[in-house]
Symmetry: C2
Subunit: 442 residues, 2 copies
């Protein structure tokens, strides 16, 4: 509380940054938070709400009425307006529609426009605010218009001037660094005439997969990209700060998918939702664990005649599961980063098989000796060693195969691959160990 | 090959993009690659080498002599020069020193300067090329200088003008969007006088942790940030394209650490290196698996008198491991994204315990019924149900505790946490199930 007051008093409103305010708010307990959030300048409430982790969102909105929230939304850029309204709908649908009705016509229209897009489409991430000019405008006039828009706070973070035709079709992109060295007394057309090609825009389609757009940003070192619709009409722009968030979100999604966790459910305040989603994956895991147990059940008699097998069998399964997870994680991640292409499939599988075979041989010897010394049965060492080699070999092969196959089938290689893999390593681990024991030892 | 020729012939050299060339090269087999790489315009070889995945690097450099490589390096920006030279050192130290000696004095000096920094320091990621001006310069003159530098290809991707004093100490940052609406006939000082605060630079220290710098970029929606040394002297800048790469690298590192894989070893062409690193984690896993087996060994007699226990015990361990991994992954990731702060520790643990307790109860009932029906022993259902609840509860608690504790100890929460967790869930799973069986069933 004190810290927030100090910050608010020592900064003029133009100097305050939502991220700083959010950082102070995050350190407060629930009671202080409710009081402190009311001190936040009304113009910044929207930005602060979005800068805080998702779970704070309902704490923010319950402290303001629809009128205040509507003002907060009107101060946001279009993509943030959409994000705010969507989070508000999740928390309180009635309040959301009340807030929406209080917005002015333009904001309503823009939010509706962005809402059309799916969350994997580029359009869902764009800002509608762009700085445009016509080819035949004189540079000086364009800059005057720019100065006016800047003063009215209509444009933030501008890095490019987009040149459009009379139908708003995107023709060229001019970086401000180029604009600065143009001849201001001439038209844009005259300025770019000699090197038109270098102003050709690298643009994204609004319906394009956002993952592709992120790849453009990375490969071409971009910090902003115009977005056009199917007629080539400029509809918005995506900026680097969107890309930071998307890269992080995709990585989170991938890690969560590998662990059998749903990213959207986890971000929600609702614990029951996360519990249900996790239960789904645990349920699938239960089925595969039962399958592995059925394999053990086939060898009840073998185990009955040598209890050492029951003691040792989880080691084989555990080592296979771990080695497989190593391969799987590397292949899933490299597929996502585009480091493995379709033509690399064979090379990838070979590499993973070689690595796991080498480690299989290493740990076969280590564990073989341990088992021999532990139970004083030399052949038990041979059995666990052989099954270790078999299981780690399978682990490497399937750790690479499963994600590659899912990718070819058009399924996200991170989803479900861990469960499939551990089914293989459990079944192969238990079966190879117990079957070898049955035929070699007994 | 044909595709590359077509691309090279249809584009003037100023239009060609290294990312496009890299994309075509990636699709080729080894033989075609060696021929095709020689067709790449000499000025672009450095950029193309860096745009390709790491494992192609030695294929690129072995096709050029030291003279050609030295030219390729001289065409790169300073941060890319360092990256190129470091990769070259990894591949061929002799060639690297030969290439280095052929560089001009300025390039040598810049590479040496950047090399001083650790890979977790901001300085290691910066470009040394910056566009600066003094306070008392007239804007018009600054722009003229800028135009000249642009023509000489000395400056790329400029978004800000950095204002420095006579000692090169950073005073202000002026975005090109602000510069564009300045009065060009006045000095910079006169232009910024009325709103000096808004030009105060948000800068990074060269020795600062790069993770902190990435957080600034995300929180403040930046696309470029100046870097200063301990005396406040401007030494370089970090741009959004560096941030994309760093965010991705950190996410990869985290995923790999959770799976017991070393990110640097995996990127290397050397399979033996990756195998060794993976073997280290598999070795640790073997020790914990043996610990779990020792627990099973304590109950040999119990298992001997009821083999159903050997069949069912892996299910309890497997469910615990999975539920624990769910909790662990969520906590590790949210810690990394700054969504969990120190004060949140208790809330986080409570949430994970509640979720796993609910799922524990659910799967206790499900598995209890299955075990009862499978082996026709009602109390066996009770035993597996109780141990399921105990193990999932521990899984949730330790899944949250382990990363939080590692974080407090200053250790990366992703490193080793999976192994510690599965040790807990294996030991608790086997022990609770077999001990309950011993006292309830026998």
């Amino acid at each position: 509380m004190k810290e927030l007051n100090k910050y608010l008093q020592s900064h003029s409103s133009s100097e305050m940054h939502p991220a700083e305010i959010a950082k102070i708010l995050k350190g407060l307990n629930d009671k202080d938070f409710s009081e402190a959030i009311k001190l936040v300048p009304k113009d910044l409430v929207g930005d602060v709400a979005l800068a805080l982790p998702d779970r704070y969102f309902d704490d923010v909105v319950e402290n303001f009425n629809a009128e205040e929230l509507s003002h907060a939304v009107s101060e946001l850029e279009s993509d943030d307006q959409l994000e705010f309204m969507q989070e508000l709908e999740d928390v309180d649908e009635d309040k959301a529609s009340e807030v929406f009705h209080k917005l002015d016509a333009e904001d309503k229209h823009e939010i509706a426009k962005l809402k059309k897009y799916d969350e994997d489409q580029a359009g869902a991430y764009m800002q509608l605010e762009v700085f445009t000019a016509k080819e035949d405008e004189i540079v000086q006039d364009v800059i005057k218009r720019f100065a006016r828009l800047r003063k009215e706070n209509e444009l933030e973070n501008v890095q490019n001037l987009f040149i459009v035709d009379s139908n708003n079709r995107l023709l060229y992109t001019v970086g401000l660094d180029d604009l600065l060295i143009f001849d201001f007394s001439k038209t844009i057309k005259e300025n770019i005439e000699q090197s038109e090609e270098s102003f050709e825009p690298k643009s994204a389609r609004d319906t394009e997969d956002i993952k592709e757009v992120v790849n453009y940003f990375k490969e071409y070192d971009l910090s902003v990209m115009p977005v056009v619709n199917d007629e080539g009409i400029l509809v918005g722009r995506i900026t680097s700060d969107d890309i930071y968030d998307i890269i992080n979100e995709h990585a989170t999604e991938q890690m969560y998918n590998l662990a059998g966790v749903d990213d959207e459910a986890e971000e929600d305040e609702d614990v029951l939702k996360a519990t249900k989603k996790r239960a789904t994956w645990l349920g699938i895991n239960l089925l595969t664990a039962i399958a592995a147990s059925l394999v053990i059940g086939l060898f009840s008699e073998t185990i009955n005649s040598m209890v050492a097998l029951a003691v040792l069998m989880p080691i084989v399964a555990s080592m296979g599961g771990n080695a497989g997870t190593q391969s799987l994680t590397v292949v899933v991640r490299q597929l996502a980063l585009g480091e493995i292409s379709q033509t690399d499939a064979f090379r990838t599988i070979k590499k993973e098989v070689v690595i796991s075979l080498m480690n299989g041989l290493l740990f076969a010897v280590v564990m073989g000796i341990i088992a021999w010394l532990w139970f004083h049965i030399p052949m038990l060492g041979v059995v666990i060693g052989l099954s270790m080699i078999i299981n780690l070999l399978m682990a490497g092969f399937f750790g690479a195969m499963i994600p590659l196959l899912l990718k070819i089938l058009g399924i996200d290689p991170a989803i479900g691959s861990t469960v499939i893999l551990t089914t293989v390593t459990d079944v192969v681990g238990f079966f190879s160990f117990l079957a070898l024991a049955k035929y070699i030892l007994l």
